[in-house]
């Protein structure tokens, strides 16, 4: 326990989580360039505060549904960096035995249900997980992450309506990073205030500064309290920005440099770091030790992944259907 007390400890914990994701993603860039990782890889750099803030308000009994940009959610949910990295290395030690890759991280024990790479495709599943909790009398919340691009999909509207109609315990976390791949929000939506859309389905909905992890955490705490109290679903529009391109293939021609720089000035990691410094919670030694711990964790994950094994080709057709329990 630091001299800063519980609040200080928590602040340092949040910073550590943000830094973990940031450094993990930066390492992914290097590994991609070195051809250790292939496929589509979507980085979470710039958006870390969303996953970290929301995850603080979930318990082990809650469920998470995420998208193809989910390394950060997986790490913040407690999936070991080793398993996530090994997945990207295509190794059997990976979170999905190397069958899913970057876009399809799963962890049943941690109730982490993907890793869905169809925009909007995870929303109905989240409603169903919440329905199962509701029907079995469990108090769980299902946190469903999706980008603002998903609000143009029919599955978004169908699920908003169903979840509100049946008062399902879903926390809808819309990560509005302003671009659906290369299509800006105002080029694809007639109404760009996304909370309005959810509010039209009679559910509480509001916008949150998604660069400020404390603001995200506070909003998620309020939302999950409401949901656990039987109030039905809540929609949060988390306003954020990805600092890097959509994926490793994206030349990023559709955004102005000035816009990117303006958002970088609100870097969620720097924002919290500076606040903790100002509040006298974070010392340089703390920061160094966080960076060192995180570097060690990621080095370990990379070494683990690199030393991992490939699933035997004979196992290719396993798990198309369930195997008989022996």
């Amino acid at each position: 326990m630091s001299a800063a007390g519980d609040a200080g400890e928590h602040g340092l914990h949040l910073l550590r989580e943000l830094v973990r994701i940031r450094r993990f993603e930066e390492r992914c860039v290097e590994l991609y360039s070195a051809a250790e990782i292939r496929g589509f890889v979507h980085l979470y750099i710039g958006e870390e505060a969303v996953a970290v803030g929301v995850m603080q308000c979930l318990t082990a009994d809650d469920a998470v549904v995420a998208t193809y940009r989910e390394h950060g959610h997986a790490l913040a949910r407690g999936i070991p960096a080793r398993a996530v990295m090994a997945e990207m290395y295509g190794r059997v030690e990976g979170s999905s035995r190397g069958r899913g890759g970057s876009m399809h991280i799963f962890d049943r024990a941690r109730r982490f249900y993907g890793g869905n790479a169809i925009v909007g495709g995870g929303l109905p599943v989240a409603a169903g997980l919440a329905l199962a909790d509701h029907m079995q009398g469990r108090a769980g919340v299902t946190a469903c992450f999706f980008g603002e691009g998903a609000v143009a999909e029919g599955e978004f509207h169908e699920t908003m309506n169903l979840a509100a109609l049946w008062r399902l315990p879903v926390l809808f976390c819309c990560e509005n990073n302003l671009y659906a791949m290369g299509t800006a929000l105002d080029r694809s939506e007639s109404e760009t205030n996304l909370a309005y859309k959810a509010a039209a389905y009679e559910m509480p909905a509001w916008a949150v500064d998604g660069m400020d992890v404390l603001a995200v955490e506070e909003a998620a705490a309020r939302a999950t309290t409401e949901i656990r109290g039987g109030g039905g679903p809540v929609f949060l529009e988390l306003r954020t920005y990805r600092f890097r391109a959509h994926s490793m293939y994206d030349p990023d021609r559709y955004r102005a440099k000035e816009e990117i720089e303006a958002w970088r000035a609100r870097d969620p990691v720097a924002l919290l770091r500076d606040r903790l410094r100002t509040d006298g919670i974070l010392t340089e030694e703390d920061l160094e030790s966080i960076e060192a711990e995180v570097a060690a964790e990621i080095d370990d994950a990379v070494a683990f992944a690199g030393a991992g094994t490939f699933e035997p080709v004979e196992d290719l057709t396993r798990f198309v259907y369930s195997e008989p329990v022996t």
Binding site: Y113, G121, L123, V125, G128, L131, M135, L162, F319, Y321
Partner: protein
């Protein structure tokens, strides 16, 4: 006891709800209305709105919710009014239900049953009448059933619910009023094997679902001409019970595949290919097919009749294989 296919299916649903509290039904107009085809009539009154859930017209959302509920420990039975409407839920069925187990490295099985009607014959035209079960039979990760008899209507659902993976059940709309004998103690039927529903020696007629009654009628006509046709009801379209098909064809040396789906890129093509691959040298004639005309299903009765496989066409195809006119 005499019963209809519809009543047998309803008894199966009721039985599932009684037997397992994790089972619930979800779909459009299955509760208050009693089911578009009256299959679930009375179940809302008996089991209540928590377990017999009327849904909005949101096929993707309620099929996806079925997937999520299955992941969350329930045993949902989702009803989609017709196979044509299921196309609105293709994303959930093909991208989620069928993939999750393999893509998650064996972690996430989806014990979900989806029922839907299929097929033509009721003048419902081109958006309510198609036979697209062959598309679903193309997809690894799904199990595809086509109960064609009262016994299977009663018994397949039970077995499907015991399956840890997604099962699609296709009920041909023309079968609901078909009557048959059902034992009072009828239980589950297997969903692994095709059935030889009429033994014969001269050729094999292979079919499933709504064309089974027509194919059996054709076999009776053929018998009157001295041709003994063996009739196989595929029952399960994926995985195909190739063993039963080949076992018959190597004895009869001739096969006609009867399928209400279109010929091109179809289930009938698959069956025909399997026979050709594995029993080519046992054949005395090329495999023949009787399928729907390659048109969107028309409304007018005479045109719809002309588009569908009919008894005379099946009889003619069989005669053709035996060198007849």
């Amino acid at each position: 006891m005499k019963t209809t296919y519809r009543e047998a299916m309803r008894a199966a649903l009721r039985d599932a709800l009684v037997r397992d509290e994790r089972v619930f039904l979800m779909g459009e107009d299955i509760g208050r209305y009693g089911g578009c085809f009256a299959v679930s009539l009375g179940l809302l009154e008996e089991f209540g709105p928590e377990r017999v859930r009327d849904t909005p017209l949101s096929e993707s959302a309620f099929v996806g919710a079925g997937i999520g509920a299955a992941l969350g420990g329930m045993r949902p039975i989702v009803e989609i009014m017709t196979v044509n409407f299921s196309l609105l839920a293709l994303d959930q069925i093909v991208n989620n239900a069928a993939t999750l187990l393999h893509m998650s490295g064996g972690q996430l099985n989806v014990p979900l049953v989806i029922r839907m009607t299929t097929g033509a014959g009721r003048q419902l035209a081109a958006q309510h009448s198609h036979s697209l079960e062959g598309w679903y039979a193309h997809i690894p990760g799904l199990r595809v059933l086509a109960p064609a008899t009262v016994q299977d209507a009663r018994g397949m659902l039970w077995t499907a619910l015991c399956d840890p993976d997604p099962v699609l059940v296709f009920e041909h709309g023309s079968l609901y009023n078909v009557e048959g004998e059902l034992s009072e103690t009828a239980g589950p039927t297997d969903i692994d094997r095709a059935a030889v529903v009429r033994p014969g020696t001269d050729l094999t007629l292979i079919t499933y679902g709504g064309t089974l009654p027509k194919t059996l009628d054709a076999a009776v006509e053929l018998a009157a001409e001295g041709i003994e046709a063996e009739v196989i009801d595929l029952r399960t379209l994926r995985p195909l019970d190739v063993g039963t098909i080949l076992g018959s064809v190597v004895r009869t040396h001739r096969a006609v595949v009867v399928d209400e789906g279109w010929r091109s890129g179809s289930l009938s093509a698959e069956v025909s290919a399997r026979i050709t691959e594995d029993a080519f040298y046992d054949l005395d004639a090329p495999v023949a097919r009787v399928c729907s005309a390659e048109v969107p299903m028309p409304y007018a009765k005479h045109l719809e009749d002309a588009a569908l496989p009919q008894v005379p066409a099946i009889v003619a195809a069989a005669r053709g294989l035996l060198g007849g006119p």
